[in-house]
């Protein structure tokens, strides 16, 4: 069966990218996914739908808030905004991630030499 979805890079990666993107400005789902795709230069293949379960998780943990607004293109969209808790969480996650990345990079670099 080819029903298995492409997985995230690692658990929490998508959430982290969402939080980072929302830090700059509140966005609705569609804009959010376009933004992430664009900023990754389309290197990350993200299934558009996979954004929504992630957003629900963030909403539940109150890291983001959502409200229905009218967009600049005159659509009724649900816009997500980072909360204070979300901002703190992001800092924490990013520093974690950077440490992990550094570790991985070192291991990989050593292997090449």
């Amino acid at each position: 069966m080819k029903l298995r979805r492409q997985r995230d890079l690692f658990p929490g990666a998508l959430e982290m990218m969402i939080l980072r993107t929302l830090k700059r400005q509140p966005l609705h789902g569609y804009a959010l996914v376009q933004h992430i795709k664009r900023s990754s230069n389309d290197l990350l293949q993200i299934e558009e739908g996979s954004l929504y379960p992630a957003l629900q998780r963030l909403l539940k943990e109150e890291l983001v808030k959502a409200e229905w607004r009218i967009s600049s293109t005159n659509r009724r969209v649900r816009t997500y905004k980072l909360t204070a808790a979300g901002a703190r969480h992001l800092v924490h996650e990013v520093s974690n991630f950077e440490r992990m990345l550094e570790g991985i990079t070192r291991v990989l670099a050593r292997r090449e030499s």
């Binding site: 069966m1 029903l3 979805r5 609705h28 789902g29 569609y30 299934e47 558009e48 739908g49 996979s50 929504y52 379960p53 957003l55 629900q56 998780r57 909403l59 539940k60 109150e62 959502a66 229905w68 659509r75 009724r76 969209v77 649900r78």
Partner: protein, 870 residues
């Protein structure tokens, strides 16, 4: 977010979510259209890039749920809907499971309260039964001096108590009544940790033969005789013409031995209770920290010393075992066999339900395929199917509990006599928990196969097949075949067990009893010790009863015996043979009977040699005895016993001459070989009269039951206050004894009949399905000229293979398993060939009938109809 708010606002959240996703798709489509794509293509692209819509929605919603519980509830709702849609299927499955679960719950309640629960006594694990090891390793009660000996030591037991079974005539207050009682030493109740409801236990004074007469009454007796009046304490009961003071009332939840209404003190002294008169059940409470092996070792070392000190002439060794084991007795093998049986019934019920589910799964192929193609996760699907089967099994469990409640009553009624403290057995929390666990386990057991089956397989194939049934589901077919083979195998095991028990019972019922019970009336007559304190008077009285009864019309012969065969009562002890030295390690023992009148003729016991006892054997004539063939076989295998002398061992010592040999009456339980028996004339042992009670045996030409009034009337003319109890025919007495053997046969028979019925349904269902699957093949064959015989061969060939494999496995399992029954069998080996052949033939026959119906239906198919429908 606060969880309660979540619950209320969840609907809002879901609506937001789907609105949002819809908006997302629309925005994407619009963008694509603006980019120059056709609308139709844009919709497809947007959908594709979005991913699995259903799954994403589901996952997003799950974030807000208590995931497992909520999806479980959703599955449950769906399951209930499915049940409503197909009630016939649901009802069948639930009923099958209810029978299986109910039977298990009922049997488990019994097993739980008897085998698993501790006895309701303080420190029950330290309570031990102490018994003499007698002749041929038999374990017997102890004599009074032996009991005193063990009471006197303090190395092994912290305390030692004793009790014995007896019966007394209660003449006031209220209706005269013959009551079964126990006599207990003062230590017994404190040792069991019994807190009396009111009053006190026995004192050391009351224990003595000459002490003040005291009695403790049961709670139910207190209520029935005294209406719970507290002033009953200190009141009097007239027992065997003696006034006893009520000193205590037992608590309502007290259970011990036969649950007697009255407990009397032993009222013995060393003079009145002879050595070698073994009638006391001795219970010891181990010192704290003492283990059973330690106690056994210490007792083996102490036995000689204890016996010497008490000059008790006790056995050479004692046997110590937990009181619990003693009380459970031989009900353990029966209960284990019963539990095994119902477990097999449940397995068959599971196999049947699994088969039903598989058949339904085939019909639900399309539904499942659609759900998968719409994005249902496989685990989710398996979980859903399991929830459905759990729903069935839990409903089955609920109905099963009702069945268990009803079944337990009948079970206890059937087996009650064989079970200790059977009044304590009921459905309780443990049984409820067991039933719940069993239901869930059952649901998983029978639901797993179909659920896994549904998760597998090629989606496209399934969609193509759709609702139509066709070959290619070989996996399912294989599983169904395996289930059928299992059902046949399990049924055979149960049938084999039931068959063995039945054969054993038939053997038992036709065993030579050594007497003719037909037209014999028996009644229990306990002579008032106060009125007939003088032994000569009592002998006269007994002789008068014999004489006057014999003169009644229709009466052929009349006699008294101390213990009737099949009554379960017996007295045995050691004796001496003149000229044979005593071997202390192997004391000769025999059952001892005392006779008044023509007991042997009344019972039609065959005279082998010499003469019967008769009225010329009096206290003045020379002492004589009659022995039975078993006695001769054991002690005079190569000699003529007539003229030899033995010392019966009780009462005044002295040699008695053997004057006759009679046939063996099956004195003890029918399964045991009869114990050698000595019959002495009562007139020659008057000193024993005060310890004995008698049973009258009357052989009459008339209907024995019609003579009860006449004979009682005759006796009451001699003594109007004589209490007469247990009037019944000898045949009824034997029947009540046989019932204990017959009832398990009924039980096992019933359970295997249920199993057989379930298995037959299962075979029928699978074969019908097989025929349905091959409809087009059969149609084609008929159209091409196949004869009925060919079609029958095609279908039956398939069935016969399954039946043969199932029976082969069943036979192999039976041979291994039925050994567990061996202690319940009499005169039949667990591997009895005729039984196995018989039950195999029965099963094969029923299987063929179950197969024959769908096979015959196949031959009647109309090929044109079938092929047109293809």
């Amino acid at each position: 977010m606060n969880p309660f708010k979540q619950l209320f606002s969840r609907r809002r959240l879901y609506i937001d979510l789907s609105d949002e996703i819809e908006a997302h798709l629309e925005e994407k489509i619009e963008e694509l259209v603006q980019g120059g794509m056709s609308r139709k293509k844009a919709v497809a692209t947007a959908r594709r890039e979005f991913g699995n819509l259903t799954l994403i929605q589901e996952e997003s919603r799950e974030v807000w749920q208590w995931p497992t519980i909520e999806s479980f509830l959703a599955d449950l709702r769906y399951g209930i809907r499915m049940l409503r849609r197909n009630p016939a299927f649901g009802l069948t499955a639930i009923l099958i499971l209810a029978v299986g679960i109910g039977a298990n719950a009922a049997v488990f309640s019994i097993v739980d309260s008897i085998l698993l629960k501790p006895l309701p006594y303080a420190d029950q694990e330290r309570l031990m039964m102490v018994r003499d090891v007698g002749d041929r390793d038999t374990r017997t009660p102890m004599s009074y001096p032996e009991f005193l000996g063990w009471k006197g030591q303090n190395q092994i037991f912290e305390s030692v108590g004793a009790y014995s079974f007896a019966s007394v005539d209660l003449t006031s207050p209220g209706e005269p009544q013959h009551v079964d009682i126990i006599r207990a030493s003062a230590e017994l109740l404190p040792m069991l940790g019994t807190m009396l409801r009111s009053g006190r236990g026995f004192t050391a004074q009351e224990e003595l033969r000459a002490g003040p007469p005291a009695v403790i009454i049961s709670d139910s007796f207190w209520h029935s005789r005294f209406h719970g009046d507290p002033s009953a304490l200190g009141g009097k009961l007239t027992l065997n013409d003696t006034l006893f003071t009520i000193v205590g009332v037992l608590p309502p939840d007290f259970h011990f031995a036969t649950d007697p209404d009255l407990i009397l003190p032993l009222r013995l002294d060393a003079e009145s209770a002879a050595p070698r008169f073994n009638f006391l059940q001795v219970v010891g409470k181990l010192r704290p920290g003492m283990t059973l092996p330690q106690a056994r070792g210490a007792a083996a070392a102490a036995v000689k010393q204890v016996n010497d000190r008490a000059s008790s002439f006790g056995g050479a060794s004692v046997y110590i075992a937990p009181l619990r084991d003693f009380l459970i007795g031989d009900s353990r093998p029966l209960l284990v066999a019963l539990l095994g049986t119902v477990a097999f019934v449940l397995l068959i019920a599971c196999a049947n339900t699994a088969n039903l589910l598989l058949a339904r799964a085939a019909a639900r192929q399309k539904e499942i395929a659609i759900r998968i193609s719409l994005g249902a996760a496989r685990m989710r699907l398996i979980r859903q199917l399991l929830t459905e089967s759990l729903l069935l099994s839990v409903l089955g469990g609920v109905i099963g509990l009702a069945i268990a409640r009803w079944g337990l009553v009948s079970l206890v009624k059937l087996l009650g006599d064989r079970l200790p403290h059977s009044s304590d057995i009921h459905l309780d929390g443990y049984v409820l928990a067991f039933t719940a666990a069993l239901s869930i386990f059952t649901g998983i057991l029978f639901g797993l196969a179909p659920a896994l089956q549904a998760g597998n397989g090629n989606l496209v194939d399934r969609l193509k097949i759709g609702g139509r049934l066709s070959a290619g589901l070989s996996n399912t077919q294989l599983m169904r075949n395996v289930l059928i083979v299992a059902e046949i195998a399990f049924s055979l095991v149960l049938l084999a067990g039931a068959g063995l028990l039945l054969r054993s019972f038939i053997r038992l019922a036709h065993v030579d009893k050594g007497f003719d019970p037909d037209h014999v009336l028996t009644m229990h007559i306990a002579v008032s010790p106060g009125k007939y304190a003088e032994p000569k008077r009592e002998i006269n009285y007994l002789n008068q009863i014999v004489e006057s009864t014999r003169n009644l019309p229709g009466v052929e012969s009349v006699g008294f015996i101390t213990n009737l065969p099949f009554s379960g009562d017996a007295m045995s002890g050691d004796f001496l043979i003149q000229g044979v030295a005593i071997d202390p390690a192997n004391v000769s023992a025999a059952s001892k009977q005392f006779v008044v009148g023509e007991y042997f003729s009344a019972m039609h016991m065959p005279l082998i040699r010499g003469r019967f006892l008769n009225s010329t054997d009096t206290n003045e004539s020379r002492p004589v005895v009659v022995v039975d063939q078993g006695f001769v076989r054991e002690y005079f295998p190569h000699e003529d016993p007539i003229g030899k002398h033995i010392d019966v061992g009780w009462g005044k010592r002295g040699w008695s001459e053997i004057v006759g040999v009679v046939g063996e009456a099956r004195e003890f339980a029918m399964t045991a070989n009869p114990i050698p028996t000595i019959y002495s004339p009562m007139a020659q042992k008057p000193e024993l009269l005060e310890f004995l009670a008698f049973n009258l045996a009357v052989r009459t030409k008339l209907d024995p039951l019609s003579q009860i009034q006449v004979i009682s009337g005759q006796i009451h003319q001699l003594d109007s206050t004589q209490v007469i109890s247990k009037a019944r025919t000898m045949e009824d007495l034997i029947d009540s004894k046989l019932a204990a053997r017959r009832d398990p046969v009924w039980l096992f028979g019933t359970f295997s009949a249920i199993a057989l019925f379930l298995a037959a349904i299962g075979i029928y269902g699978v074969l019908s399905y097989y025929v349905l699957q091959r409809k087009s093949e059969i149609g084609t064959r008929i159209a091409l000229g196949a004869q009925n015989a060919d079609i029958l061969r095609l279908i039956l060939g398939h069935a016969v293979k399954l039946v043969i494999v199932g029976m082969a496995i069943g036979l192999a399992v039976s041979f291994a398993v039925v050994r567990a029954l061996s202690s319940l069998l009499f005169g039949v080996q667990p591997t009895d060939l005729p039984t196995f052949l018989g039950v195999s033939a029965l099963l094969a026959f029923l299987a063929l009938v179950a197969c024959g119906i769908p096979a015959l239906r196949a031959t009647r198919m109309d090929p044109s109809t079938i092929l047109r429908n293809e």
